[in-house]
Amino acid sequence: MLALVRPLARALHWAGAVALASMMFLTVADVVLRSFRQPIVGTYELVGFLGALAIGFSLPQTSLDRGQVLMDFLARHLRPGPGRVLQVLTRAVGVGLFAVLAWNLAAMGFDLRASGDVTPLLNLPLWLLAFAIALACALEGLVLAATAAVRTEEET
């Protein structure tokens, strides 16, 4: 399972990097053009949209790289057996959280599509963003499940 989720997480992380670079270049272009009274219409909306993709899509890789903040006093002081049980337990808690989030974000996406909610200037469909974040949460859940039984040093 880890062999399946690892390339997916990496691909999403790279997509997030493209989104972040686009945010930077778009904002700089807008600031420069604004000085000539030619601002790029909808920059604010696009940057918010790209920001959501950049962060959401980086979530699985950040977990794979053990980049989230956690306290591991207990895990460090346990013998390998109980330590493994604790890791499975904590990952199961995370899988549960992200399963719930993915499900509810997808439901939110369906609601937004039904209501036709879009951003005010560029008419960007908000359901698309909800589905994108739901997808990232689902993959995050899979990453946590895939790494539940793997020793820490094998994860990255």
Binding site: V69, L74, L129
Partner: protein, 433 residues
């Protein structure tokens, strides 16, 4: 169950999850969502959690975080820290302990473009420790200094901690940046004085290096000039209202990219690495904020912060005693949980108390940042010590022994800032009245 009882149980659940090793951001989301479900209902809680994740991830306001982190990451991979160290070394290398003092000076300048504390510690561990090693510096002094100077990024703008505090408390990021400058410089001076005093007492700790001629010194100055220009561009744009914080982060990142490209210090692969690394850090921070937002909605229904404020008010203690108690809570909390995470968790609880006592939220932001600075190098969860240990292969215990002398100066300045809020508030009052 009364709201106070549910509040107590949820906080207990939160700490159990922390103790088990559940990621801090995830634990806040789970505990907050569970509490909300008990207080309202399960459907409302699930709906609220999804909406909070959606709104935090897609908020334009939060895009400031990855962009300012990117600015520092490009600066770090682009060799700006090394150039600044080279310059500081030319001026101070010949003084006993001068290479360590040069590290403080270079890190202070580098902080003007890099807001991440561990990134600075890692960068200077790579750049400065081998140089100090070459001149026979004691490992306690070299690694302790490098770990400690990394904390300057918590206070000197563009600090990620101040940005997150500003977003959480709806306080002007421009004012917070200005408020951090004088206290940040005071702490930098305290680091240099500590090194000077330590080396006077024990000259073997930091032997003098070679003296550089004035030609070499002047030739080393351009990087300092460019960093000053970048700093003025970003902070000036924010202060005058020409840029939003997100725009300031974009312009700063772009300008650092152009500078490093012009110096041929960065290539496509390194730029990609800085993007990926920035996203890893920003995702960690924004996940914490998303968890804290869910927790915050639970606090709203139980009114936990208001009850804490009422309780502290009922003790009829002098405001300074209450502030000291809050500082102690942050220090203890930050000693067990990562400091930024604890700041994100605790600030919504304590801010109403601070406002109730008539203090300025900008000043409280500075106090919280100084406490976070101390926490970043205070055992047992001293992230910078772990980072420097990882980079240099020095035992963490040796690094701690190099950090302890600096803690006294930091604590003293914290006390001064608590007693004299005008030190922090003077620059915002002058430039952003």
């Amino acid at each position: 169950m009364s709201p106070a009882e549910v509040g107590g149980l949820v906080i207990l659940l939160l700490f159990v999850l922390f103790g088990l090793g559940v990621e801090v951001g995830f634990a806040m989301a789970i505990a907050g969502g569970t509490g909300f479900a008990i207080m309202v209902n399960t459907d409302a809680a699930l709906n609220m959690m999804a909406k909070d994740i959606f709104s935090v991830f897609s908020s334009y306001g939060f895009t400031v975080i990855p962009l300012f982190v990117l600015m520092g990451q490009i600066g770090a991979v682009g060799g700006i820290a090394r150039s600044l160290y080279e310059s500081a070394y030319r001026f101070l290398g010949h003084v006993p302990g001068g290479l360590a003092m040069g590290t403080v000076a270079a890190a202070t300048a580098f902080k003007a473009i890099c807001g991440s504390s561990p990134a600075t510690a890692a960068t200077f561990a790579t750049v400065a420790v081998p140089e100090m090693e070459r001149y026979g510096y004691d490992r306690r002094l070299s690694t302790g200094t490098v770990a400690t100077v990394g904390t300057l990024g918590v206070l000197i703008p563009p600090s990620v901690t101040l940005i997150v505090y500003g977003i959480l408390t709806e306080t002007s990021i421009g004012k917070l940046f200005l408020a951090g400058i004088i206290p940040g410089l005071m702490i930098a001076v305290s680091f240099a004085l500590t090194i000077y005093g330590w080396c006077r007492l024990n000259p073997a700790l930091g032997p003098a290096g070679e003296r550089s001629g004035w030609g070499a010194r002047l030739r080393s100055l351009p990087p300092i000039f460019w960093v000053a220009v970048l700093f003025l561009l970003v902070i000036g744009g924010l202060m005058t209202g020409f840029f939003t914080p997100t725009e300031a982060g974009s312009i700063g990142s772009f300008a650092v990219l152009m500078l490093t490209l012009a110096r041929r210090d960065i290539n496509a692969r390194q730029f990609a690495k800085s993007l990926l690394d920035s996203l890893r850090i920003a995702t960690m921070v924004i996940t914490l904020i998303a968890g804290a937002t869910i927790m915050g909605h639970f606090f709203v229904v139980t009114q936990v912060p208001m009850r804490v404020a009422e309780w502290l008010g009922s003790l009829a203690l002098p405001p300074l005693a209450v502030m000291l108690a809050i500082v102690v809570v942050y220090l203890i909390g930050g000693s067990f949980i990562e400091d930024l995470a604890f700041m994100i968790l605790a600030t919504p609880i304590f801010l109403p108390v601070v406002l109730e006592m008539g203090y300025d939220p900008v000043w409280f932001g500075v106090i919280v940042s100084v406490v976070t600075m101390i926490g970043v190098v205070l055992p047992p969860v001293a992230i910078n010590a772990f980072v420097v240990s990882g980079v240099t292969g020095t035992p963490v215990g040796t690094i701690y022994r190099g950090i302890y002398p600096h803690l006294a100066g930091m604590a003293l300045i914290l006390l001064v800032l608590l007693l004299f809020p005008q030190i922090s508030l003077w620059l915002p009052a002058v430039f952003m009245p």
